[in-house]
């Protein structure tokens, strides 16, 4: 009931093209989930580990890191800390999409399904209603596909362990790039983003995973709000 009502209005608001795009990303996430389940079990972890992580953590990059460290004989506590570092970017994401998520119970469910992909889909829409629909459809869709993928991958074992062979490692950056490009048409945003990119790339060799992307926020120092934007955006 709680879920069905907003789902219906999400479905009405989404236009067919956007729904198809989101569906494609959900599908791709499902395939990565397959490989994640297979890699985890192939690495000697019991099936419940990748499945539990996918439901309660639900953050792909940190999950890969976690099982990678544990399967290699590392401490689960070290894996947990590494995973948390990778997920720090969710703080600024949450600050940006707070209105999109909504209040009350939605804040809890909506926070849990926050991913790079659905944040990018939301930022790519103009109206709040569309942002909301894109965020929720993406979040719920990815949650379902990811978890199904992990279970099937874990059960099937070594069917798909190398998604690089399909080029999926190139597909995900391309997805995010396509979604942020319209925002980068604004000159000042573009300058901030480019400085951020340089800082992130320069710090990647030295910092633990997750922190370089956070360092990119330095780029915001180069952001100048366009004159009159405040009046226009009202």
């Amino acid at each position: 009931m709680f879920i069905i009502m907003p789902m219906r209005s999400i479905w009405r608001t989404l236009d067919r093209g956007l729904a198809r795009d989101i569906g494609l990303v959900c599908l791709a996430d499902g395939v990565v989930g397959l490989s994640y389940g297979a890699i985890s079990v192939g690495g000697g972890l019991p099936l419940w580990v990748p499945i539990l992580l996918s439901i309660v953590v639900f953050a792909g990059a940190s999950q890969f890191l976690f099982v990678g460290i544990v399967a290699a004989g590392g401490s689960p506590i070290a894996a947990m800390i590494a995973g948390l570092l990778v997920n720090t970017r969710h703080i600024p994401f949450g600050l940006a999409v707070s209105d999109v998520i909504g209040g009350g119970w939605r804040r809890f469910a909506g926070s849990h399904v926050m991913t790079d992909e659905n944040v990018a889909f939301a930022m790519g829409q103009d109206e709040l209603e569309q942002k909301r629909a894109a965020y929720w459809a993406g979040g719920i869709g990815i949650f379902i596909c990811w978890n199904i993928g992990v279970v099937v991958g874990g059960l099937a074992g070594s069917v798909i362990t190398d998604t690089d062979a399909f080029g999926l490692d190139a597909a995900f950056p391309a997805v995010l790039l396509a979604l942020v490009l319209p925002s980068l048409r604004d000159r000042s945003t573009r300058t901030a983003a480019l400085v951020g990119v340089l800082v992130a790339l320069a710090t990647t060799p030295f910092l633990p995973a997750g922190l370089p992307v956070l360092c990119a926020l330095v780029g915001l120092l180069f952001y100048r709000a366009p004159k009159g934007a405040l009046e226009v955006s009202r």
């Binding site: 198809r20 791709a28 019991p46 580990v49 992580l53 309660v56 953590v57 953050a59 940190s62 976690f66 544990v70 401490s75 689960p76 506590i77 894996a79 947990m80 995973g83 948390l84 997920n87 969710h90 703080i91 600024p92 949450g94 600050l95 999409v97 707070s98 209105d99 209040g103 804040r107 926070s111 849990h112 790079d116 944040v119 690089d164 080029g167 190139a170 597909a171 950056p173 391309a174 997805v175 995010l176 396509a178 942020v180 925002s183 901030a192 983003a193 480019l194 990119v197 800082v199 992130a200 790339l201 990647t204 060799p205 370089p212 992307v213 956070l214 926020l217 915001l220 709000a225 405040l230």
Partner: protein, 106 residues
């Protein structure tokens, strides 16, 4: 394998990750955020996502990512810039990287 420690690691990661996600919405519901700051927060998300694109396209761990993946992302990026359909962008990026690897390009 020490199951209790593993379980604790997973559960703390889960609670911590949820807190990181929940922090933004919880903070913003408590304070009136000026319009100017809201705009800056939106730009911050774009800066982060762009940095994520660059690092995931060009880097693998702490080193460079090889050729196939950046080439795939580049093809996708050019298509997106020319306003090609999203599906084409994604499929072309994946196909380029997969094709190059099939040819033995790292």
């Amino acid at each position: 394998m020490n199951t209790p420690v593993l379980l604790v690691g997973i559960l703390v990661l889960a609670v911590g990750t949820f807190s990181l996600r929940f922090a933004g919405p919880a903070l913003r519901s408590r304070f009136e955020v000026p319009e100017r700051a809201q705009q800056l927060l939106a730009v911050a998300a774009i800066v982060l996502l762009t940095a994520l694109v660059a690092t995931s396209a060009l880097m693998d761990g702490h080193g460079p990512a090889g050729v196939a993946r950046p080439a795939g992302v580049l093809v996708g990026g050019v298509l997106a810039w020319r306003k090609a359909p999203f599906v084409l962008v994604v499929v072309a990026a994946a196909a380029t990287a997969a094709g190059l690897r099939l040819l033995g390009v790292p």
